[in-house]
């Protein structure tokens, strides 16, 4: 092939590749923008989806463009394809294709003549005039679609940020106050350093949430539950079940358990044979169907002994226990303050966390909307004091059962009964205490919902319900 023809074809290949790339570029950009639109939409709709860093944007735009470039180069890699395209677009009379394809041996007479003629033609042939770029205007218009979509998403994000600002501020304030309370306790008790860290993590988590107040309340409720579980002493039912199981061989221990002498009971249990204690726990768990006793019974004898001693000692007012109780009390106050502010806002008054003029007005309905059935976790309703729990006592009222020895009519000797005074909805004449009934019903219900194949949402609903009716400590 003649050098001039070769040069012309190379030039044509460059032009055709570039034009092809420019034709593909709008579609590549469209692909990139659509991808970004989808990812941005997912990030907005589902908070679990991470917000996209700028590198993703750059990759999403440059990736398709690079692919378009590679496609353009690949499509025009063959000179025959280039020659065919040039001959089709320009009045070359198939000269370039002939120059490439002509078999010199077959057409020896004319071979050189053809090459000379094509070379002469190629030297005066102006590619620029014939290989003009097509107007990509219509293709570019398609880009407006994803751009408009991204703009709409950005507006939606701005609107939502503005809408959630008061609620977020309130949630943050609550977490800050809780954090300060935990900090104060952490100075005395290193156990609370972990609590502080957990609070910081929770605060980070709900900063991108669409329901910050609800998430904050949930985080606090979980914390409260965890601390409560750590502080909870044996219930009277548990104590009486265990006393009954131990009563035969250790009457003093049984009496101490019944009378609530936890410290002396702890001392005696620590001296017991772990095997005997394990047997007693098994029996008590069988009789009382109590989850905690059952849990202890499933552990090894020495471990169960150690934990039981710990539970009894802690319930006796140790330093860690008092710190937890104090913190829980503060936490309760913080949460109550939030609820009160929410109720005030609902009543049309300006809330204390109203950074925007109508912030409080917005936050209250938002809180109400976001509240789970039976009340938000950690809210007033969640504490078992909501109006949905008929018959519960007023806030601050003592709901603990007081045990008294009374002369019963049923038997000859004295018997232990529990009398509940204003203990929520407990009927003084009820055969079983509310707390005890709750303690029995909760594990049974949780076992059932965990065992049965039911939707996850319904499982959560049952848990929430039991959280809502949990008896006050």
């Amino acid at each position: 092939m003649d050098v001039i023809v070769r040069r012309k074809l190379d030039e044509a290949r460059g032009r055709l590749s570039f034009h092809h790339f420019l034709q593909l570029a709008p579609w590549a950009l469209l692909t990139g923008l659509s991808l970004m639109l989808i990812l941005r939409g997912l990030a907005l709709l589902f908070p679990v989806f991470p917000d996209l860093p700028p590198t993703v944007w750059v990759a999403a735009m440059l990736g398709p463009l690079l692919a378009a470039g590679l496609v353009a180069i690949f499509c025009w890699r063959s000179l025959v394809v280039v020659a065919r395209a040039v001959d089709a677009r320009a009045p070359t009379r198939d000269r370039f294709l002939t120059a490439l394809k002509l078999d010199r041996n077959e057409s020896a007479a004319f071979g050189q003549a053809v090459q000379n003629e094509v070379a002469a033609f190629a030297s005066s042939f102006r590619l620029k005039e014939h290989l003009r770029l097509k107007n990509p205007g219509r293709n570019l218009l398609w880009l407006l679609l994803p751009l408009a979509g991204l703009g709409a998403l950005e507006l939606f994000q701005q609107w939502r940020t503005l809408r959630l600002a008061p609620e977020l501020a309130k949630a943050r304030q609550m977490m800050v106050e809780t954090g300060l309370a935990a900090d104060r306790q952490a100075e005395k008790n290193p156990e609370f350093e972990k609590v502080v860290r957990e609070l910081e993590l929770a605060t980070e988590r709900f900063s991108d949430s669409t329901e910050p107040l609800r998430d904050a309340l949930r985080a606090l409720a979980e914390l409260e539950q965890k601390l409560s579980a750590a502080t909870a002493a044996l219930s009277s039912g548990e104590a009486s079940s265990l006393a009954e199981a131990l009563g035969g061989e250790h009457p003093q221990l049984a009496a101490d358990l019944r009378l609530g002498n936890n410290q002396s009971a702890a001392a005696e249990i620590s001296r017991l044979d772990p095997g005997a204690l394990a047997r007693a726990l098994e029996e008590a768990a069988r009789h009382g169907e109590n989850s905690r006793l059952r849990e202890l019974a499933q552990q090894s004898g020495s471990e169960a002994q150690r934990r039981l001693v710990s539970i009894l000692q802690n319930s006796g007012g140790s330093g860690g226990e008092s710190a937890r109780r104090k913190f829980l009390s503060e936490l309760s106050d913080i949460k109550s303050g939030t609820s009160a502010a929410g109720e005030q806002a609902e009543g049309g008054e300006e809330g204390e966390a109203g950074e925007t003029p109508n912030g409080a007005e917005k936050s209250a309905p938002a809180q109400a909307e976001n509240a789970p059935p039976g009340g938000a976790p950690g809210s007033e309703k969640d504490l078992g004091r909501g109006a949905d729990l008929a018959g519960e006592g007023e806030r601050g009222e003592d709901t603990r059962a007081v045990e008294e020895f009374v002369q019963g009519k049923a038997g000859e000797g004295s018997s232990l009964v529990e009398i509940f005074r204003a203990a929520g909805n407990d009927d003084p004449k009820a055969a079983q205490a509310y707390r005890s009934a709750y303690g029995t019903a909760l594990p049974a219900a949780l076992d059932a919902v965990n065992r049965e194949e039911i939707p996850a949402g319904s499982r959560l609903l049952v848990r929430r319900y039991f959280e809502a009716i949990r008896p006050k400590e």
């Binding site: 198939d94 000269r95 002939t98 007479a109 004319f110 071979g111 003549a113 053809v114």
Partner: protein, 324 residues
């Protein structure tokens, strides 16, 4: 092998232009027909001229013979014309010694250029008498072959208007024609020019053009190279006229009974080669093929009954194929 194709190609173009110039002295407004006839002349193919009476079909052929300085014979085809009237016959002749013998008396077909005037007026039997001469370039009489002179061209004319008492040419014979040319009616300016030239004292005189290298020029035409991709265009056009092929166009599928023959592709390629040489190129382009597709293929397409009834023409089928 051709020694200097570029020089010979230049000679070819000059010869073509000179012949055309001489013919245009007599014929006005028939550029396409002149070009077609000259193409047939250099491709050594036969041409069928179709046009209304008085458009100069006969004059065109006669002028070509005069300009090329070749033997010319005219056969007026009539229903009672016999094959022997065309080819010739053996006559009993007596020599000086009184002995009698058969001697072949050559018919009018033994000329360089044969004008078969109103060829569709003769019976198919007589029309077929030309078949051997046209294809094999010899005539067989009483078992003896009589070769034709070179070049040998049959330029036939037919009148498409008068169908009464005519015999359409058989497909086999139609296929022997390289081109079918339509002689168009001249425009007003051309008619003025015709009157100027033919109704005055001096009638234009055609000067014969000396073609010393006529054989070499015809060989040159066949030497023009064609690359496979360009050749594919001719094949695509031919196959597009076949109703049962995947390459066929919708009109062909619906209205064509038989498509163009391989001989059509050969004719198309020869004409395209001449076109390339006249354009100053030494290779065939797709445009050259497209330029001659209709004259070279239209008489080889046989329409079906629906096509005839709908008034579809072979030209319409070919235009659709060209647009593909």
């Amino acid at each position: 092998m051709i020694a200097d194709p570029e020089k010979l190609a230049t000679e070819f173009r000059e010869a073509f232009q000179r012949l055309r110039a001489e013919m245009e002295k007599v014929l006005v407004g028939q550029d396409e027909a002149i070009r077609g006839v000259l193409t047939a002349f250099f491709a050594e193919g036969h041409a069928l001229l179709e046009g209304a009476p008085g458009l100069g079909k006969t004059a065109l052929v006669r002028t070509l013979a005069g300009a090329a300085g070749l033997n010319f014979s005219r056969i007026q085809f009539t229903p009672d014309l016999m094959p022997a009237d065309i080819i010739g016959t053996n006559l009993i002749v007596e020599d000086e010694h009184g002995r009698k013998r058969f001697e072949f008396e050559r018919g009018p077909v033994f000329a360089n250029i044969v004008l078969a005037d109103e060829i569709n007026r003769a019976t198919p039997k007589t029309q077929s008498a030309l078949l051997e001469a046209m294809q094999e370039r010899h005539a067989t009489v009483a078992g003896v072959q009589h070769p034709m002179q070179r070049p040998f061209l049959v330029l036939a004319t037919q009148n498409p208007i008068e169908m009464e008492g005519t015999y359409p040419l058989p497909e086999a014979q139609l296929d022997r024609f390289l081109l079918k040319l339509h002689v168009q009616y001249p425009g007003a300016d051309d008619l003025h020019e015709i009157l100027q030239r033919t109704t005055r004292e001096h009638f234009p005189v055609v000067a014969p053009v000396r073609l010393e290298n006529a054989e070499a020029l015809r060989d040159l035409v066949r030497s023009v190279p064609v690359v496979r991709e360009v050749e594919a265009r001719a094949i695509q056009l031919v196959l597009a006229t076949h109703p049962d092929r995947t390459e066929s166009v919708p009109l062909a599928k619906k209205f064509v009974r038989y498509g163009a023959s391989p001989r059509g592709a050969q004719s198309l390629m020869l004409c395209a080669k001449i076109n390339a040489l006249l354009d100053g190129r030494y290779h065939v382009a797709k445009d050259d093929i497209d330029a001659w597709a209709i004259p070279a293929l239209r008489h080889r397409i046989i329409l079906n009954f629906e096509g005839e009834a709908e008034g579809v023409t072979a030209e319409a089928v070919l235009r659709e194929a060209l647009a593909k």
